[in-house]
Each structure stands twice: as structure tokens, then as C-alpha cells.
Symmetry: C2
Subunit: 212 residues, 2 copies
DNA sequence: CATTGATTCAAACGTCCGTTTGAATCAGGC
DNA sequence: GCCTGATTCAAACGGACGTTTGAATCAATG
């Protein structure tokens, strides 16, 4: 990574910031190159197109993030041996790394989290396809783990609750800041560990609700 | 309402449809007037600007929707007299009318629901301000009711869970269709009553989780 | 029928967009 | 010093955008 040219990284940083705050669709290449202080053509020289730039922005952080998720899940599998991984542990492995990004990255972490949340909500089929591609492996490993942790839950209920999980997580990533003002300062979205606790707590209870 | 000119209503219908499917930002006035089969200038003649058009699209359905929510809440208050309204009843009054819009409106219902979910996720401050204005009264009445239904829940936890509720609800409104393919056809987002049940069920359990 | 105000229309406005081009600049190997 | 390939640059491309304009059309009134 250290050999990445300044121009390329400057573009990624500026694009990440602006995509996250204004949304990919509402951000122009000219705004990006203005912030990155590079030439307009540099974007197409290094990335090819605006779409590919977004893809690169996402992949830069999503690849290690998903690797961390899978590693945490495998660690739990090792710990539990033949036994089933408790629901809470699976959820922590899934949402923890994403929410924690806001702290442990020097910068850009909170910003990227917001972007990831936004991409979940973007109607643009190009963006959706990109996300699906990035999340395919994670979904393929976590869904069976979740299902094993909830053996008595009917499949239909299970998928509904996955859907609600995605909504709560995406909204929390995209707009945690809104909670500060909305709660009159009583909640602090910068305290990531509290955030993870609150979300996992809420989701665990939701998943364990008896079906009707 | 019956006296609304065809042109005005045609524009609202076309705009609602396109805003919902592609997102307000990615929809151009020229696409709207193409679908509505009216002249481009008619939009500015009747609505003034693209922003005002979106506002009008939202208000047309959001005003009666919010009125229904408040009416349902007041009905519960009457029924319960001095007692506290059960959590589940409050949640049904809040999310039921929104989710049910997809059925009981001749057309445009499901479409508008999707648009409402999208607007929740839109970064554009103009759209956010518009939503806040529309939802102020509803929030002011429902939050105290929720708080009364959860007297033992610490305020901080309470606001976190409201945040999760908004995320799950918005995602369900904006992208219920995704659940069909994702669940391999096992869930049917068109069955609104099941959808309401599933969501209320999940949220009720989440809200009642003991705090840590 | 003439007049008036409301509505529709085709055409254009200026601006910003993503992308392309071709020349200028820079680096390192011969 | 010169060549070569990689990078940067200013400038322009065609197209789409939201908005404005001014004339044409329509409906109703006196």
C-alpha cells in the first residue's frame, strides 16, 4: 500500500469523503478533483470512469472489512467446536467490524461507514450489483451461522428479520449522527462500543422474539 | 380532490412513480413529463420547481397518512383511558398505516411507500428538512406514547432503539421487494398484514430487550 | 363577438456533467 | 543527452439538466 501514488490515493480519499456526505449520485468528478487538487483527466487515467472510481473506493475498505468479519466468525467456530455459536457472537462478528471502522482507522473510517450505509439504500442497479458482489461471500457464511443459532425459528420469519437487521444496520451506519440531535444529546454515536452493544442487543432480542 | 386538473395530477403520478423507482435525484423533469405526456413548462407553471414538485408529491399522501396515524393513536388512548397503551398497539399505529398504504390505495400506494423510505435515506438537506416538517407532529405524539409504554427503559437505550426502528421501517418500505429474491421466494412482501406483523413483532421484542 | 385570464406549447437559455484529446512534463535506462 | 513510457495538464466535446420566455390556445364572461 505504501507504494500507492499520491494522486491515486488523494482521489480515493476525496471521493470517499464526498460520496459519503452527499451521496455518489450527487457528487461530481469536478468536486472530487477540486478537493483532491488533481487534474480532471487523472480520474479517468487512473480509474477509467466514475463508476469504477466508486467501485475502487468501496473495495479499498470493504475487502479488509469483510475479511475481518469472516475471521471473527471462524474464530468463534473454532472456539465452539461442535457446538452452535451463540446468536450474540454471530451478530457481533457481523456488525462489530463495520461499526468499529469509525474508530480504528486513522481517518476516513466514519466517513466510509456512512458511505456503505448510503450504498445499501441506493436504487442505482450498478451500485446494487457492486454491493452484492462484495457481500456475497459474507452472506454465504453468516446466514447459515445465524440459522444454526436459531434452529427453532421458521425460515420465513428468519428472512424477514435478516431484512430488518440490514435496515437497522444500514441506517445506523449512514446516519448515526442524526441520533445525536434527535436524542437531544443523550446518545453519543461516536462511542462505537456503546453503539455496537445497543445494536446487537436490539437485534438479538428481535431475532429471538417468538413467532406468531 | 376531484376538481384537480388532469395535468397537475398526471405530473404528480408520474413524478411519484419515477422518484420512487430511481430516487428523486436521479429522476429528471424530462423523464417525468415524458411519462405524464405534458409539456415541460407545465411543471414550473403548476409547481414552481423540481423541489416543490417533490414536496407536493410527498404532501399529497403524507398528510392523510399522518392523520391516520394520529387517529389510530388517539383511538388507543380513548380505549385505554387512564391506563398505559401497550407497546405493540403504539407500534401498530405507527407503522401499520405506512405499510398498509401499499394495499388500500387504488394505485401508487406501494410506489409511494418506496419513495418515503428513499427520502428517509436521502442526504440532500432540502429533502431532510421537508421530511422533518412533515413528521414533526407525528414524532411529538408518538415518542411520549412509546416512552410511557416503556417506563423502565433508560432514556439513552430508548433513543437508540427508536433509531433502529426508523432504519428497519425505512428499509422495509424502500426495498421490500428485495426480500422476495433474497429469501428465495419464501417471503412475500405483497402480503402487507404479514409484513406488519413481522415488523411489529421484531420491534416489540427489540424494544423490550433488557438493557445492559 | 370581443376580451380576459388561465393554461399549454415549442424553443431557447446558461450551466454543469462525464468523458476525450493531444500536447506538455517527468522519470529512468541506454 | 536522448529516447521511452508513464503521468499530468488545459481545453474542448456532446449531451442532459433545471429553468425561462413569449407566443399560441383554450374557456368563460360581458
Amino acid at each position: 500500500m505504501a507504494e500507492m501514488k499520491d494522486t491515486k490515493r488523494d482521489i480515493l480519499d476525496a471521493a470517499e469523503q464526498l460520496f459519503a456526505v452527499k451521496g455518489p449520485h450527487a457528487t461530481s468528478l469536478r468536486q472530487i478533483i477540486g478537493r483532491a487538487k488533481v487534474n480532471l483527466a487523472a480520474v479517468h487515467y487512473h480509474f477509467g470512469s466514475k463508476d469504477s472510481l466508486l467501485q475502487a473506493v468501496m473495495a479499498r475498505r470493504l475487502v479488509p472489512l469483510n475479511a475481518e468479519r469472516l475471521a471473527l466468525l471462524e474464530e468463534q467456530e473454532r472456539k465452539c467446536g461442535r457446538r452452535v455459536i451463540p446468536l450474540r457472537k454471530v451478530l457481533v462478528a457481523l456488525v462489530g467490524p463495520a461499526l468499529r471502522l469509525s474508530r480504528n482507522s486513522k481517518k476516513g473510517g466514519a466517513v466510509f461507514m456512512q458511505l456503505l450505509g448510503r450504498c445499501f439504500m441506493e436504487p442505482d442497479p450498478k451500485i446494487q450489483a457492486m454491493l452484492d458482489r462484495q457481500l456475497q461471500e459474507v452472506a454465504g457464511r453468516f446466514i447459515p451461522a445465524l440459522q444454526r443459532a436459531l434452529p427453532k425459528l421458521p425460515t420465513e420469519d428468519f428472512f424477514w428479520r435478516i431484512h430488518f437487521l440490514v435496515g437497522a444496520m444500514a441506517h445506523t451506519m449512514a446516519d448515526a449522527e442524526r441520533l445525536r440531535t434527535f436524542s437531544g444529546g443523550r446518545c453519543d454515536p461516536d462511542d462505537t462500543e456503546v453503539m455496537i452493544d445497543q445494536l446487537v442487543n436490539f437485534l438479538t432480542a428481535g431475532f429471538k422474539a417468538k413467532s406468531r
